[in-house]
Subunit: 337 residues, 2 copies
DNA sequence: ATGAAAGCGCTAACAT
DNA sequence: ATGTTAGCGCTTTCAT
């Protein structure tokens, strides 16, 4: 077995209280005993037991992070940010893959409760009433990433409406007039509705008519959704010169469909995405897209959570992160030449 | 505060021992008291404290997973598999992002030791002597994913030599004779050397000369590495008709370089990758590649670890996972017209 | 069938 | 400056 504080105390001929003080950097001992104890620790290879500590301190120095899909490219970048911030703040992170299932989410929440995590980061999904109740029960701080909620929970995200609005304006500024959108779900209050609304409003602001003929809606935001959507859109809007896709995966799916149909991007069809995943710069042509600073968002959420846990903050600050449009090769400027 | 076992006992008018028995499904009580206690639990919303349990049971039901880069596309798929297996086995997983730094790795290992995790999964990196010593100290099972080691540690991985050999043969069977390779590092005993050796041996087996002119080596396996490697290779091997890249990211980087140089893939240049990341089917043209079953590997490693922890297995079984070559559009068959 | 009590490894209040 | 002791919430003998 691992040596305990008792063993160290015995070895160094002091009481366990003294060892504890030295280990925790509290005052109350001579340099001499300190050295003795440190030697004992060294000799025995003593490691304080975080479990015992947690029991008494009511602090586990651990947070839980819930993702609908941990292997998603979006999640994995956010996770890296969270992990980084947590680690810097002295916390470990337990990952939970909810697979967007309510049951699994509740199960995980209960688990995190039993494990007495000090805080929770909830990502990319809607906060159901049921979850919120558990949050309250748990009495630990919660911060949302890439989501908002009807409840009073701090969040870190970008303004989806604004991002979509600007993406659309970008296309318009490049001279496009027949613009289609590959949208998400009308049920989705985060990545779905706001992005579609932003698209529509930008069009109208610039005097371009909007009819629902120029938009498809999708259950998910995957490659396949985008790939299937493009032909549909082309059908309804044959003169379309540009597409705004509500996610990079969909944008790249649309690109694949275009390739298949023999439509050249960006010469014949411009495409702009949303997210700025790593793949955006790897595909051909490199994708112009609305960049969400995913890692920074995770980092930021982690930092806020840590502050909240340490009680430095009383009320939670939410943060809107800045998005940018990163220009690559998938959009053609119609005004030139 | 959360109610404790004491509260439940008081509420139900029994001793804490009885509550404990009921909660843990041990024998020794009447149906009647069981009901009473369950009602108390329900009424109070009691959740057993996993920390207290861990202290006494010496089991935390938690495992640690170390990745060089959690946001890597490779890691994230493996992680999903691990998390899945762990969860099924009743374990939570703590993720650690080592950033390939030895110091950070050691720090994390110490942390996991303090947190008394029940087991460790170590991914995609070389096991240094220093790490191995800590493993031994910790006295917990360890399983390697996508790595092997000089030590007697169970691993789950595919045979890199074999995979590279087959990829090269595939190219040869398609009629290619001038084949280049974008390789990894000679310092890397996993993804580096074996894949390069496999390439070389396949060439020689089929009577094609091998000179180091037809290979580049790289520090990393990223998009940029591949992108920079292709022109170098083309320089040395102007008649090259096919490239084998030691990773999908590099393959896609090579593709990007080819596009830039006006070389058409696969018409003028065939490319085969290694990994089968999600991007492989999203890029254009879709990438033919050696598929590693990443999620399954993670899952498998998780399962082995759980078995080891539960003591069902005495000695660790290592597993070579089967790879397959998934044919998409990036390789041209030279034999057909 | 049930309860009392010891103790897991630690911290913190209270002596000395 | 150092030690003694009472828990933290639980499991597990050992009695009854």
């Amino acid at each position: 077995m691992n040596p305990t504080i008792k063993d160290v105390a015995k070895y160094a001929n002091v009481s366990i209280a003294t060892v504890s003080r030295i280990v925790n950097g509290l005052p109350g001992y001579t340099e001499d005993t300190k050295k003795k104890v440190q030697e004992a620790i060294e000799a025995l290879g003593y490691q304080p037991n975080a479990i015992a500590r947690g029991l008494i301190n009511k602090r586990t120095q651990t947070i839980g992070v819930l993702f609908p899909e941990v292997s998603g490219m979006l999640s994995s970048e956010v996770l890296e940010g969270v992990e980084n911030a947590a680690h810097d703040g002295g916390f470990s992170v337990i990952v939970c893959n909810t697979t967007s299932s309510g049951k699994r989410t509740v199960k995980y929440l209960r688990l995190l409760q039993e494990k007495r995590v000090d805080g929770i980061i909830f990502a990319s999904e809607n906060v159901k009433e049921e979850y919120y109740k558990i949050f309250q029960e748990m009495q630990v701080p919660v911060v949302l990433v890439s989501t908002a909620s009807q409840f009073n929970l701090p969040f870190v995200r970008v303004d989806d409406y604004e991002g979509a609005f600007r993406a659309t304006e970008y296309l318009i500024q490049k001279g496009h007039k027949q613009i289609g959108m590959i949208g998400g779900s009308f049920e989705d209050p985060i990545a779905g509705v706001p992005r579609m609304k932003g698209f529509q409003d930008a069009l109208e602001k610039h005097g371009l008519d909007f009819t629902d003929q120029q938009m498809t809606s999708n259950e998910g935001y995957r490659f396949q959704n985008g790939k299937e959507s493009l032909p549909l859109l082309l059908d309804k809007l044959p003169l379309m010169t540009a597409v705004f896709a509500a996610s990079d995966e969909m944008a790249i799916g649309a690109m694949a469909a275009a390739h298949q149909l023999g439509i050249r991007v960006p010469e014949e069809l411009s495409i702009i995405g949303y997210d700025n995943l790593k793949i955006a710069e790897m595909c051909y042509p490199a994708l112009t897209t609305v960049s969400q600073p995913l890692k920074e968002m995770g980092q930021s959420a982690g930092e806020i959570l840590v502050k909240l846990i340490k009680g430095k903050e009383k009320e939670a600050e939410s943060r809107y992160m800045p998005f940018t449009i990163v220009e690559r090769q998938s959009v053609r400027d119609l005004r030139k030449k």
